[in-house]
Amino acid sequence: MRRLAVGVPAAAAAALVTVPLVGLLARAPWRALPDIVTRPAVLEALWLSLGCSLAALVVCLALGVPLAWVLARSRLPGLAVVRAVVLLPMVLPPVVGGVALLFAFGRGGVVPLPFTLPFTTAGAVTAEAFVALPFLVLAVEAGLRQLDRRYEDAAAALGAGPWARFRHVTLPLLGPSLAAGAAVCWARALGEFGATITFAGSLPGRTRTLPLAVYTTLQTDRDGAIALSLVLLALSVVVMAGLRGRWTR
């Protein structure tokens, strides 16, 4: 009885995730696939997606690693609040994030910008970074907390200054956490939909990334939508494979 009580919902959970993905594979127009994914509009969306998500990753690394450092190492008061706010996009509906971005950086927004951000490619990157940042910060902060700081003391005793300590000791020791955080961050940016469409719109070639293209295509061309979904699925599988041993064991 007890075995059944656990086994049935467990199987249902596995099925909930597996069945749609298998369905996607079953319904895939395998023959037409090469044609579909090489259509100019698809390739355009694919390159735009890769470009935007990688740019968002770079932004997240450049800003997120220092932030993770402060969260892990600093004793400034109020850091708990900062952490909670920074991690909020993980649970916040992305569309709300998009609206918030619009009111912050849009015309007449809270932050006056000398250039236009909404409905531009840079805006799409901003939206993706907004949503993906917490995943990187979380992983890197955890990595920094696990790191034995005495290695940095040992490096200091050997004459390494702050930058040399970071570059030659902290960073290499942080490697696995950083790689995992970057992978999840990038995957999240790549799949980002709600914040992007709200803040940057769905302008072909400028802000219509793959997920947006899937959504748009689905209304007119089911096979096309499935094909594009397969591309995203394939990229996700690659990320998951890269995290092998860390998340899947």
């Binding site: 290695y151 200091a156 005793a157 050997l158 004459g159 040399a164 000791v169």
Partner: protein, 323 residues
């Protein structure tokens, strides 16, 4: 080159550290003391106040992402040495400590003893002005210890700066240090040459480390009054004093001795600690003493815990010095 002069005052809960440590250039000072006496805290403070001191930690802390030779080259690279030259120099240091064969291994593939040798090479290679060695032989097995000690001794002879060695092993002190600083409960209780500290210990802990009997009392014309007994000694010291009796100077017998020794006390054997063909016998009685006798004597006298014995010490074998 570099000398060291630090005065460290720290309050850690109920524990107070207040110690001054001075080490001249080229001098090797052994910092000794019971567990929890503040040695590590003192070293830590020295590190914090003197960036760039060479340091060998108790737990070595080799960089796990670098192999042995790159660990040793790390400090040389930070001094601006080119990669090739630094690695060549690092290899020479690994050779000195007998671990050149493991140059390409990462720390997780090294034994504790090998890692310890690499850590010593890493600390010494950049030729730091001040060198701190915290239990540098802790992980080296007994077999390799003499060899590593020899290598370290040779390296220290070239070391122009100050060196502080924290250790629990009297033999390390004898082999490597010129001066001993004894720390107990956060304070320096004795500071002197190795010979002086060994022959004239000022606390029971130092006496035990030196392997001698220490008695404390008041010296007068008849000897030194330690309370339960007056120890005859040939000394002109008067007033509060210490008396040291070397275990070799204590003669044991199971009958009242016929010797001319002025000091004869009865007691019972508490413990027998064999060391090769000799044995250290702890006797408790009016005067607690450790006697060092031959293993043959233990057998012939039938010594075992509980046996009543007479301990005899000649007055001339009692060294008295002011407290």
């Amino acid at each position: 080159m570099d000398s060291l002069d630090v005065h460290v005052v720290r309050q850690l809960g109920a524990f107070a550290l207040d110690a001054r440590l001075t080490v001249a250039a080229g001098e090797v000072v052994a910092l000794v003391g019971p567990n929890g006496s503040g040695k590590s805290t003192l070293l830590q403070a020295v590190v914090e106040d003197n960036p760039g001191v060479g340091l060998v930690f108790q737990d070595r802390l080799l960089f796990p992402h670098l192999n042995a030779v790159d660990n040793v080259a790390f400090g040389l690279r930070r001094q601006g040495m080119r990669a090739g030259a630094a690695r060549a120099e690092a290899r020479r240091w690994l050779e000195r400590f007998g671990v050149a064969d493991y140059a390409e291994r990462t720390p997780d593939a090294l034994s504790g003893g090998q890692a310890q040798r690499v850590a010593l090479a890493r600390a010494l290679a950049p030729r730091p002005g001040v060198l701190l060695l915290d239990e540098p032989f802790a992980a080296v097995d007994l077999h390799g210890r003499a060899e590593v000690r020899r290598a370290l001794r040779a390296a220290l002879a070239e070391h122009a700066g100050a060196c502080v060695l924290v250790t629990h092993q009297p033999i390390d002190v004898l082999a490597l240090a010129g001066r001993v600083v004894v720390l107990e409960e956060g304070r320096v209780v004795q500071d002197g040459s190795v010979e002086e500290v060994r022959s004239r210990p000022r606390t029971p802990w130092v006496a035990e480390m030196a392997g001698v009997n220490l008695l404390e009392g008041t010296a007068g014309p008849d000897g030194i009054d330690i309370g339960p007994a007056v120890v005859s000694a040939s000394s002109f010291v008067r007033g509060p004093a210490f008396a040291v009796i070397h275990p070799n100077s204590v003669t044991l017998s199971t009958r009242p001795p016929q010797s001319s020794a002025r000091n004869v006390w009865t007691g019972r054997v508490a413990e027998i600690d064999p060391e090769g063909d000799r044995a250290r016998v702890r006797v408790t009685g009016a005067v607690d003493l450790v006697a060092e006798v031959t293993a043959a004597a233990v057998r012939d006298l039938g010594l075992s815990p509980g046996v009543e014995v007479w301990a005899a010490v000649k007055a001339t074998e009692v060294e008295v010095y002011p407290a």
